[in-house]
Structure formats: structure tokens, C-alpha cells
Symmetry: none
Subunit: 157 residues, 2 copies
Amino acid sequence: MEQGNIVKKRRHMKILELISSQDIETQDDLSELLRIAGFEVTQATVSRDIRELKLTKSADENGIYKYTISQSEDDKSIGKYGFILRETVVSCEKAHSLVVVKTISGMANAACAAIDHMQWPHVVGTIAGDDTIFIAVKEPEDVKNVVEALNSILSRA
Amino acid sequence: MEQGNIVKKRRHMKILELISSQDIETQDDLSELLRIAGFEVTQATVSRDIRELKLTKSADENGIYKYTISQSEDDKSIGKYGFILRETVVSCEKAHSLVVVKTISGMANAACAAIDHMQWPHVVGTIAGDDTIFIAVKEPEDVKNVVEALNSILSRA
DNA sequence: TCACGGATTGAATAAAAATGCAATAGATTT
DNA sequence: AAATCTATTGCATTTTTATTCAATCCGTGA
């Protein structure tokens, strides 16, 4: 129950990818695109996903509606990257002088990009596999700080 | 029907005030509140107003939907909130160690929300009544800076 | 003043989104 | 493994929102 449903998380990520790469006007359109991408879902599920992801539909400058990632106060400090981490990271632990992050299958690269984007001063390098990320830090004592920083992001609403 | 162009602008401002001072779930609820406030409108008009104001409906932390002022135009947000301030603020003055802002009647909440969105570092707190806002700042000398910042926004074209 | 033209609006309706319910998939405990 | 939860989902339906169409309003220029 801590980890949740993997398929659902993958679908959520796909939804974020879809709405940030193209204009989507309706939930039906979105579920059709998800179906093409291999996610068999109905509009009802998309509606629930949208509530959980706190997506918004609003008019653009031409008055055309489209779904967008909302920028709530919470997200503002870390942007949508923190959001991606919360959606993909399963665990985050100290391992000797490295930080080892586990993600849901296939999501390590997305999560790693998010971590890189943070530009934390103590982080000197990252490597992403399929579901694992290694984070190298400057000093051994930085490991603890990075783990704490990550957990802080992961625990936000 | 005594509705006109100016009435529409006033209604738009009233909508901004309403959604920034309370949680509103549906357009029907909003049109009911507008009716109470003296604006006789149907849901159809509210739908159009919402498109024009680029408002969004999204879930809060509890999954309850409510209408909010869009932050999708974060680059232009100063302009957007500045617009609200210019439309509502009557005066802005230093009062001891506070900044006191007077607005047209009933608009303090909308204006206060706009000020809050500026996220000025010197501002530590705000309180809005019906037509008055108190702004608390960190240091006494910050009062002057905030008054100047506000006046700068108010004097823009 | 009167006629014209664009804007605004309400009523009705179409379109889109949210939800109650039941089935089932997954996890947890015994 | 069986029993028991909890979470997820689709279907059907309700609720909510957007739009169409016609009427009315407002400003403008003759």
C-alpha cells in the first residue's frame, strides 16, 4: 500500500507527458491518446487521474480550452520536477558513500532528470538504470543531506 | 435587462473577489452568489466569464474541486494581478509600521490575494477586511519599500 | 432621432466531466 | 492458502460546463 499501483503511476506519467507535449481539449481525447499508448482506460478513470494529478483545464489566449499542469503553491518551490519524483520514486537510501534511489520500473531516467534539475550543490554525478539511480556526492557526510532533501520532497502533499 | 459593458467588468471583478475569498465548486454556485450580490446572471454567462478570466477548476489537497485564479501565465502574473490591483485599489499609505491599502467596497479580498501572490520578501503577513488591507512587513524601513512597490504597480498604464 | 453592427445574454441543449455502484485486482493478515 | 481488506476500474448515470441560436442591448454615425 506504500508503493501503490504501478500501472496507475505509469499512466499518470504518461498523462503528464501527453499534456505537456500537445494541446488536449477533453478527457475523451486524452483517453484515446492513452489507448494508443497502450493504456486501456475510460473517461471515468481519466477524470479520476486528473483530480489526483490536480490538472486544470483553462482557456489559452485564443479562448481554446486545454489541460495543463497546475502550479500550486506547493509545487512552486520545486516545480513539476518534484512532482515527477513523487510519482516515480519508490525508495531512497544511503548506501556507503552513495545515495541509491529506486523508482518504478522504467522510470529511473525521468526521475534522474528531475534530480539533475535540482542542481544541488553537493551532488557531483548521477547514473540511471531502469529502476535505479546512483547519486554521487562530494563529501561522505553529504549523503545524509541528500537523502533528507529527497525525502522532504517526496513527503509533500 | 439593465446589463451593459461596465456591468460585465464589475461582474468580473466580483467573480475574482468571490473565488479568492471562498471555495466555490460549481458555476451554479457562483451564479447564485453573484445573484445575491446583485448580478443577475445565468450559468451560461458565468461559463463565458470563466473562459475570459482564464479561471481554472482544480482539486485541492482533499480532492475537492474549486475555482481558482489561473497561474498558468506565471510570467505575466505581475501584469495579471497588477491589473486586479489597479482595478480595485483606491489608496496605499504608510501607517506607523504597517502599510494600509484601501480598496473599493468589497474588493479587499481580491486585492489582498493579488498582493499575496506577489510574494514580496519583506511582506510577512496580510489581513483583508471589506475595503481595507493591512500589510505587515519585516522591518520598519520595509514599509516605505512596499508602498513604493505598490504605487509603482498602480501607476502603470 | 433612427438605423446599423457588434457585444452580451438567456433559454435550451449538446458536450464534457464527475460519481455511485458493483466487480475485481492486489495487498495484508492469519 | 484462505480470508479479509483496500484500491482501482468500467459502466451507467448524474451533474456540470460549453455552445448554439435568437433576442436584446449599446454605442456609433448618418
